[in-house]
């Protein structure tokens, strides 16, 4: 019944061609590497477009940006941050509020490339089982991180945070940061399927919250064309978000993937041979829906 992992997306490749069936994946990798390249352009080539790292940075020496999880930890310690940090967090949170909170996870975060690689290898080797965590664990983690800051009075989690450790390591000197890369890879590869990004990372938790009502969403526009190949569920890092949108027609559910955990990675668009999915805004889908099934829809 279940087809081998290596054949996932083959239908789409046949119907659309390899490039179109990998469009969003390629764009995403370009984005992830591009963000790293922008940060590295300064120290390596002396071209200072953006300075700092993901925790805090300065764009064109004028626009401050501060990462929301770092900012909340700062607040939790009881500290009143300087205005640059407040403006910076407003800019970052505002951006992700528009484009989808977890766009950070799938389009920016360097750890995503590691966990994607681990997942790919895990599936190709057919490794089953391992630790199972609740998807809500990330919110517990987020609470723990903030509590930890409040109790210790320092940004204690930043001593452990693989996202900032890896990004800072790439830009300011690796040190032993490669051990974090290996640890995260092995964790996702052997210990838990999609363990870190989908279940544990508190940053993903906060970005889910930020993107709860975000503008940019993926929708199963042509869900009636779905041929139940299940490829989208296999490639999706958060497959639970697809079902209500794809299969909710009878219940009168919106075709927009509204769940805040969706990372807007677009891989479902790639692997669908029937072009069911597409990017859009959360609103125009509602209007369309309203004309289809009336105004019974709840937000």
């Amino acid at each position: 019944m279940a087809k081998p992992f290596s054949e996932i997306g083959n239908d789409a490749i046949q119907s659309k061609g390899w490039l179109a069936a990998h469009k969003w994946l390629i764009l995403r990798r370009v984005s992830q590497l591009g963000v790293l390249a922008l940060f590295l352009l300064g120290p390596l080539a002396g071209i200072w477009i953006i300075k700092g790292n993901l925790s805090s940075s300065l764009l064109f020496d004028t626009v401050p940006m501060t990462e929301p999880v770092v900012f909340l930890q700062m607040l939790a310690t009881g500290l009143v941050p300087a205005t640059d940090a407040i403006i910076g967090v407003a800019i970052v949170a505002g951006f992700y509020f528009l484009v989808g909170g977890r766009v950070f996870c799938s389009w920016v975060c360097p750890v995503n490339m590691i966990t994607d690689a681990a997942h790919w290898l895990r599936e190709r080797l057919g490794i089953r089982g391992g630790a199972r965590f609740s998807r809500n664990l990330r919110y517990w983690m987020l609470g723990m991180v903030l509590l930890l800051s409040a109790v210790t009075g320092t940004m204690a989690y930043e001593m452990f945070n693989p996202v900032s450790i890896l990004h800072r390591g790439i830009i300011f000197g690796v040190g032993l940061a490669w051990s974090v890369v290996i640890a995260i890879f092995l964790f996702d590869f052997l210990v838990a399927k999609r363990g870190w990004c989908t279940h544990l990372c508190p940053m993903g938790g906060l970005y889910s919250v930020i993107g709860r009502y975000s503008l940019l969403k993926i929708a199963a526009d042509k869900r009636e064309a779905c041929n139940d190949c299940m490829d989208c569920f296999i490639v999706c890092p958060e497959p639970q978000v697809i079902k209500p949108a794809l299969k909710g027609a009878k219940k009168g559910l919106s075709p927009v993937i509204l769940a805040s955990e969706c990372t807007n990675c677009g891989r479902c668009i790639d692997v669908c041979s029937e072009d069911v999915f597409s990017f859009g805004t959360r609103f125009n889908k509602y209007e369309k829906l309203g004309s289809e099934i009336g105004s019974a829809q709840k937000v």
Binding site: S56, E67, T154
Partner: protein
């Protein structure tokens, strides 16, 4: 009847699921709590700054600094002399935070302090506008046995390299007991002027520096609050606060005085004070 029979298993299922829910919640809370405890203990240990690592100018007290620093490295980037570093994983320094080792390269004390205003959170205090007001640490002559000034040799490198020359470090003349006829030019640090920039430690000519810059709290003593220095109180009041001592009289040959404050016997006619090398040095180059 049929309704009741339908409800029974539902209730049972609900009870089970409530129990399951509580168990799951407790398990998650315990697991996350345990991880948090681990991270907390680890960060507490790994968050300790080694004594020879100094923070950039304007850094808040260490506890507040660790609460405010986002570890972004903007201060490191804006240091024109590249003497600031970010703690790498595996370094002794709290991960990702900026530091410098005075012995490797001290702070050059830029007048515009570029590392401070770029700090987004104020971990480096934006109120610091005069670099001479910064307190990165405090120099201390830590080894009188190897400092060659104490051996009676002329060095004065720390004194001369000091950016606040003649104020943060002065040379104090002491009698050389060994030769019986020479002077020791002893480098003496003054906390009211020393910024802890570290240039003295960087420049010390010894294989291991005899002058070190350390965090102020590791170096500085503190008088009990009730202490009053009699001579200061006297100066403040303009007169002795107790019955004045009668002035001691010496019976010295003409042209000689005795100075209590340390100079000892002084021959006025020699006019030594003007040509005395140590006085010239302590006056600075200006005059």
């Amino acid at each position: 009847m049929s309704e009741a029979t339908e409800n029974k298993p539902t209730n049972a299922a609900r009870t089970m699921s409530r129990r399951q829910f509580l168990a799951d919640t407790a398990r998650t809370a315990c697991g996350v709590g345990l991880l948090g405890l681990g991270i907390g203990v680890y960060s507490d240990r790994a968050g300790a700054l080694p004594a020879n690592a100094l923070r950039p100018p304007g850094a808040k007290p260490e506890e507040d600094f660790l609460a405010a620093c986002t570890r972004c490295g903007l201060c490191v980037r804006d240091c024109p002399y590249d003497m600031l570093h970010l703690g790498k994983m595996g370094d002794d320094v709290p991960l990702g935070t900026p530091y410098f080792f005075a012995r490797e390269a001290g702070c050059e004390m830029c007048e515009d302090i570029p590392c401070v205003p770029v700090c987004p959170t104020g971990a480096l205090d934006h109120d610091l506008t005069n670099i001479n007001d910064s307190r990165m640490g405090l120099a201390v002559v830590s080894d009188e046995e190897t400092c060659i000034a104490f051996l009676g040799l002329r060095c004065e490198v720390c004194f001369n390299i000091c950016p606040i020359r003649g104020e943060a470090i002065t040379l104090d003349k002491k009698h050389n007991e060994r030769t019986g006829k020479h002077s020791l030019f002893i480098p003496t640090v003054h906390s009211e002027a020393c910024t802890g920039c570290g240039k003295c430690e960087e420049a010390c000519i010894l294989d291991e520096a005899a002058i070190r810059v350390l965090p102020n709290h590791l170096v500085q003593g503190k008088l009990q609050a009730h202490y009053r220095k009699g001579w200061e109180e006297k100066a403040k009041a303009g007169e002795a606060l107790v019955t004045p001592d009668t002035e001691h009289r010496y019976n010295l040959p003409e042209g000689m005085r005795y100075e209590h404050a340390g100079e000892g016997l002084i021959m006025d006619d020699a006019d030594a004070s003007k040509s005395d090398a140590i006085n010239i040095l302590n006056r600075g180059f200006g005059d």
